[in-house]
C-alpha cells in the first residue's frame, strides 16, 4: 500500500476527510465516537435502556471481579472449572459455604455463575468481533467490487443463510469436539452473513460519495479506498447492531451447552448450569421443589443478562428504526 499520498480535501461528508497533519483513523475514530456518544446519550435518557445499562454494568463488574467474588480454591489449576465439594450427585441446598447451593455433582452454583459471567462475555465479545470482521471483509469486497465477485460472494452468503443455524452449529461443534473454543468457531462460521449483507448495502451507498470518486481519481488503489474511505463510512450501523447481538450469541452458546455439546463438564458456563438442573426439576417425594435452586439461580442469571441487552436493543430500535422514529 502506498503511504500518505491521498488528497481528499473535497470530501466533507459524513466523515471528516483526513487532513495532512492528522492520522486518518484518529479522525474517523473521533467521528465514530461522536456518533456513538449521541446514540448513548439518547439511550441513557430512556429509562428502559438505562436500566439495561445498569444491569450490564453489574454483570461487567461481576466478570471483572470474579477472582475476588468467588476466589478459586488453592491448587485449582483452571479457575474456570467449578470446584466440586465432594462427589455426590445429589444437589445440596444453599448454605453458608455455598450461598446458592450446589448443583449436580456438588458444583458450587455461586462460583459457576460468577465465573460463568466471564465466560459469557468472552464468548460474546470474541464471537461478535470475529463475525464482524468476516462480515465486514466479505460485505465490503462484495459491495465495492460488484460484478461477478459480488455475485459469487452473495450466493455463498445465501447458502450459509439457508442453513438451519442451530443444526449447523451443532454439527460443527460435534465435528470439532467439545470445548468453548469450538463453540466460538462454530458461531463465527455461521454468524457473519447478516453483517456481510448489511455492510454490503452500506458500502453500495457509501461508494457513491464524492470523496470516494476523488480518491479514485487521485489514483489510490482499491484496497486503500475500500478500507480507508468506504468501510469507515459504512461501518457504524453494523457496529451497533453487532454489539447488541452479544446477548443473542451468549444465549446460543448456552443453548448448545444445555444440549450437552458446548462447554466441557464442570466448566463455569450458564448453559451448562441449566443443563445440570435439567434432571432435578421434579424434586424428591417429600418436597416436589426440593431442588429449586439448581434451576432458579442459573435461569435468573441468564435471563437477566439477556434482559439487559434486550432493554437496550428495544430502546435502540425505538430511536433508530425509521419506522418508529418520533413515536416516542
Amino acid at each position: 500500500m502506498k503511504a500518505q499520498q491521498v488528497k481528499t480535501e473535497t470530501a466533507l461528508e459524513p466523515l471528516a476527510p483526513p487532513t495532512k497533519n492528522q492520522s486518518f483513523w484518529a479522525d474517523n475514530l473521533r467521528q465514530l465516537w461522536a456518533n456513538t456518544w449521541s446514540v448513548l446519550k439518547q439511550l441513557f435518557k430512556n429509562p428502559l435502556s438505562a436500566s439495561g445499562f445498569i444491569i450490564l454494568l453489574g454483570f461487567t463488574l461481576v466478570a471483572l471481579l470474579a477472582p475476588w467474588l468467588a476466589p478459586p480454591p488453592e491448587r485449582h489449576f483452571n479457575p474456570y472449572m467449578i470446584p466440586q465439594d465432594g462427589y455426590s450427585s445429589t444437589p445440596h441446598p444453599p448454605s453458608v459455604q455455598h450461598p446458592l447451593g450446589t448443583t449436580q455433582n456438588q458444583y458450587d452454583i455461586f462460583y459457576g455463575l460468577i465465573w460463568g459471567t466471564r465466560t459469557a462475555f468472552i464468548i460474546g465479545i470474541i464471537v461478535i468481533f470475529f463475525t464482524l470482521l468476516v462480515g465486514i471483509v466479505i460485505g465490503a469486497v462484495s459491495g465495492y467490487f460488484g460484478g461477478w465477485i459480488d455475485e459469487i460472494l452473495m450466493r455463498i452468503t445465501e447458502i450459509f443463510l439457508a442453513f438451519p443455524s442451530l443444526v449447523a452449529t451443532m454439527v460443527l461443534v460435534t465435528i470439532l469436539g467439545r470445548g468453548l473454543d469450538k463453540v466460538m468457531i462454530a458461531f463465527i462460521v455461521f454468524g457473519w452473513m447478516a453483517y456481510a449483507r448489511l455492510i454490503r448495502g452500506n458500502v453500495l451507498q457509501a461508494k457513491e460519495n464524492t470523496y470516494v470518486e476523488a480518491a479514485r481519481a487521485a489514483g489510490a488503489n482499491a484496497a486503500r479506498i475500500l478500507f480507508r474511505h468506504v468501510v469507515p463510512n459504512a461501518i457504524f450501523p453494523v457496529l451497533v447492531v453487532a454489539s447488541l447481538d452479544i446477548g443473542t450469541v451468549v444465549l446460543g452458546a448456552a443453548a448448545l451447552s444445555f444440549l450437552g455439546i458446548g462447554a466441557p463438564e464442570g466448566y463455569a458456563d450458564w448453559g451448562q448450569m441449566i443443563n445440570y438442573a435439567h434432571n432435578w426439576i421434579l424434586g424428591t417425594n417429600d418436597d416436589k421443589l426440593a431442588y429449586w435452586y439448581t434451576i432458579f439461580f442459573p435461569g435468573l442469571t441468564i435471563s437477566l443478562f439477556v434482559l439487559g441487552w434486550n432493554f437496550i436493543g428495544d430502546a435502540f430500535r425505538d430511536i433508530f428504526d425509521p419506522r418508529l422514529r418520533g413515536t416516542r
Partner: protein, 355 residues
Amino acid sequence: MLAYIARRLMLLPLILFGVTILIFIMLQFMNPYARLKLYVRSPAELKGGTDQLDRLLVKYGLNDPFWVQYGHWLEQVAQGNLGWSETAKTSVLDAIQNRFPATAELTLYAIVPLVFFAIWMGVAAAVRHNLWADQFLRFITVIGTSLPIFVLGLFLLMICYGLLYRHLPSLFEGWFAPGRLSEWAQAAVRDSKQFNSITGMVTIDAILNGQWRIFWDALGHLILPVVGLSFSGWAYLQRVMRSSMLETLRQDYVTTARAKGLPEKRVIVKHARRNALIPIVTLVGFTVIGLLGGVIITETIFNYPGLGNWTAAAAIQLDIPSVLGYVLFATTLLILINLIVDLLYTVIDPRVRLI
C-alpha cells in the same frame, strides 16, 4: 412475477448443493475413526478390536475423499433415496415423513394463538400509547424475549410437574403430560382399523375420526410445548405490531376518518389495524422459520417426538445422512416460505413489485 418465481426456484438446487457440500467439507475436519461413533455406540461395542473398526471404515466409505463420499450420496439422492437414519432407525425419508406432522402440529398450535395475541396486544398497546398498559405490555414483552426457551421450559415443567401435580393430581390424568399422547391414546391411534391417520397431525386426525377423547388428550399434551415455543416469538411480534400500528395511526387517512366523526373503535379496527397488519405478514414467515428452529430445543425438553427432537439427536450423534436429509428439507421449506411471503407482500401491498 412468474419470472421472479422461476428465478428463485432455480436458485434452490444451487443452494441445496452448496449447503450439503458444506457439510461434507466440514466432515473433513474429523478423524474418520471418530465418525464411527454412530456405528459403535459405546466402548462395550469395541470388542472386535481395531480390525473391526477398519472394516467399518471401508463398509461406510468413510476413508474416501470427500468428493467421492459426496458423489455417492448425490447418486443416492438422485435415485430418490436419502439414505438411512441411524438415529431414527428408518430411512431418512420415512423419518421426515413420520415426524414432520408432529412438528407441523406443534408449530401450527404455536403460531395461531401467537399471531392473534400479538396482533391484539400490539393494537392494544398502540392505542394506549405510552399509557400504563402500553408500558406494562412493553415490560412483559421484553421479559418474554429474554427468557430462553430452555429456561422457560424447565420452569414450566417444574411448576406443572412439581407443584400442580402434587396438588391437583387429577389434572394430570391427561393434561400437561410429556410426550405426544397418553399410552391408551397411542394404542388407539396405532390401531389402523379404528383410527384413520390422514394428516399425521393427531388432533386433526382425531377430529376427522370423531374421536374427541383422543383429541383432548393430544391437546393436553400440546399445551406446555406450545407455550414454551411461542412465548418469545409472541413478544417480538407484539412489538412490531405495536409500532406498525402507531405509524398507521398517524397517517392522514386515519386522521381523515376521525375527522369524519367515525367512532374511535371503528377507526382503529377498520382503518388503522388493517393497514398496520402488512408488515406482520413478512414477520409471520420469519416467525414460522424461527419456530422451526425453536422446536429443536422445545421438543427435546418436552420429549415431543417431532423433527426437532430427532435432528438434535442426529446432530449430536453425527448421523450425517439424517442431518443432510433434515437440512435439505428445512432449507427447501425456508426458501419456499420466504417466496410465499414475498408473493403475499405483492398481493397485500400493490406498491411492492417483484423484479
